[in-house]
Assembly symmetry: none
Homo-oligomer: 224 residues x 4
Amino acid sequence: MSESDNPNGNLGGIEAVRAARIEWRLGQILTAAVKLLSEQGFQKMLITDLAKEAGVSVGTIYQYVDTKEDILLLVVNDIIESYRREVPAAMEGIEDPVERLAAGFRAYCLVVDAHRTAALLAYQETKSISKEGRERLMRLEVETNSYFSDCIQAGMRLGKFAAVEPAVASGTLTMLAHMWALKHWYLNSMFDVQTYIRSQLSFVMKALIAGEYQKSYSHLVNFS
Amino acid sequence: MSESDNPNGNLGGIEAVRAARIEWRLGQILTAAVKLLSEQGFQKMLITDLAKEAGVSVGTIYQYVDTKEDILLLVVNDIIESYRREVPAAMEGIEDPVERLAAGFRAYCLVVDAHRTAALLAYQETKSISKEGRERLMRLEVETNSYFSDCIQAGMRLGKFAAVEPAVASGTLTMLAHMWALKHWYLNSMFDVQTYIRSQLSFVMKALIAGEYQKSYSHLVNFS
Amino acid sequence: MSESDNPNGNLGGIEAVRAARIEWRLGQILTAAVKLLSEQGFQKMLITDLAKEAGVSVGTIYQYVDTKEDILLLVVNDIIESYRREVPAAMEGIEDPVERLAAGFRAYCLVVDAHRTAALLAYQETKSISKEGRERLMRLEVETNSYFSDCIQAGMRLGKFAAVEPAVASGTLTMLAHMWALKHWYLNSMFDVQTYIRSQLSFVMKALIAGEYQKSYSHLVNFS
Amino acid sequence: MSESDNPNGNLGGIEAVRAARIEWRLGQILTAAVKLLSEQGFQKMLITDLAKEAGVSVGTIYQYVDTKEDILLLVVNDIIESYRREVPAAMEGIEDPVERLAAGFRAYCLVVDAHRTAALLAYQETKSISKEGRERLMRLEVETNSYFSDCIQAGMRLGKFAAVEPAVASGTLTMLAHMWALKHWYLNSMFDVQTYIRSQLSFVMKALIAGEYQKSYSHLVNFS
DNA sequence: CATGAATGAGTATTCATTCAT
DNA sequence: AATGAATGAATACTCATTCAT
């Protein structure tokens, strides 16, 4: 819709400017929040310090969020949106369920890596998140799990995957992706993300791929 | 030794009574703490509420701990001691590294199950634990990992285990044990511990055991 | 300098306004503190009550001081600064050591009278003041004593003062000034400050001035 | 009185034993209290610490006093009783008011020296003492002052003392005795009690004794 | 829109006192 | 009489949130 079509054209423009500013301000605030949250956790992050770190006033923060908890939710929401966007996108168009699963796992791990702090917070600050937020997170995880378990079931039907419990197996895959955030203090000194992904993919694929198919997927299974 | 043999007989008795009371009181307090911590988390658990729940006065709590944080440390310490006690005990005397690893993993999972709340707290309340406490936890995890990675390396030398990175693989095993606590909300509706253990053991063993040995360990690998 | 001359004009203005507000708030708080301290002492003065008395909130108090003790220190500091300002000023320019001493003593007594509560607190709340604060107070008293003992030694050299121990004599002078605060419950019903000063000055001068000079200083010595 | 003479003999004996024990216990407690009070002040002296210092249990302390404040009162009472006992005793039988005043002042200073901590406490802990206790202390000080002011008035009638305000002069004398406790941190490095007494007595007597009598009392007036 | 001073409910910790043993 | 574990009222200090400028 062009501006001239709309009698509220410039109002719309003003709206757009406003939305852009909100976006920009929230960006400032959330970037600062991620930093402080990863350093100190939610409880110890003071709004005062956040304001200083973000270079805005306390009042300004409350113009963009209603509660301190909102900040946490926004940060965690960010990673949720990324999962939703990246994982299906990476899996899309790949016919073979084995390769599709591998692509999904890789994408999932990369999202975790890109939002390591947020991924950790989802575990650490559960108790600071409202019941609604918590349930939303769980729903999302179940949803992502289902992408994986769909592949696993498809693979099992084709005889490419050994018989496993799809619910545990898919849950294990997400767990191993999260592990990159949860055990980063331990893993970081030994691997980079790409190596970690290949290593875990090899582990998982050895467990999943049926004996007779292991050779066909040696590029996934073998990790030198 | 009869009392009359010991000139400090009753003094020793008094000491013993005191130690027993301390044990008993701490038990009362920690049981209540585990309940409140799992319901509300550390920050929201008020000392006042804890006292009420434990059926003692606030002052009494502070006769047995110095700080609120101490309560958290004691709870977490409990699971640490259990790991230390149970896991090596379960592995002891088993020659075959494959079976030894399986025994260790089973024991580890059972400890997690018995202290599910504490296992969760170790992830959730990291930021409420002092640097020292946190480092102690990490040291312990590395230590337990080494039990597993020792088995894995031994198994690899015997050719029973496929070539894997022992550090990741052992870390993955502990992660999967912790998963029973972390994803209990999801797993609980589908499995009991024993089923979970067998399922994950099967998964892990398929990934670890070298092709030619898979049949010999079918009791571990197959999960119907 | 007009605002337009100064590119930081309004910034400087903001700073000035802020400084003025701090001054004003601290004034409010300290005035209330002096009242409550004199009525109840430091320990019994509750921050809650202080806030009520000062007509501000508890939080506001803590925006201007870091600790309850700070309030005490600020009150006591006030009298210290007054001593430092008033006593040397009163003595300055007076050549004759006898008259100079008299002027100093008068000024000292008037400062005590103007800050009677604070003068008392310096005696009563020593144990509530940190080691540093306490040592600072002692150093100041020694410093003020030295103003007096300098006069006494000068007067002795001129033969106008009898041979006395300058350290005790000067200490006695400060003690007698403080006495107006310490024994106010007793002295108040009989004298006003001016009378008290003349009376004690007469007492002290009789003790200090050498016999042959007593007549020359009859205006100090005689007290009708 | 032998036990057999008195049917209540052993009861009386038991009473005596009890009284003696009370005396002994209180002695233990008060000695410990004086130590802790002088080190930490009343508020910071914990009953727990006092019990430890006195080598008794907390419960035992409360068998001999009703309140923590009682301990303070007992300590301060001690010095009060000493004043009452020692000062009149020292003055008794001395006809000449000048010498009588000197004897009283000396005795007063010695009591202060013997109970330095208690003398200080009477100034520092006023706010911790109940209204009744406080008023009792004031009454006593006025009473002691009157011993001194009686002498001064007698001396003035005889023409031996110059015309002074007896109320201030006697108050000043007690103040100078207390000064030994209040400024002990300052005086201690320079004098012992005896020297302090002679020095202050010389100062005071120069101020009080009429010119024509100064020579007759040179033993009091001169301080080499 | 932005600011940051003011607010005050909320909470860990202390310590005099009691009382069952 | 003596003990010392248990009590719980009391209190300094914090920090998310508001709102006048």
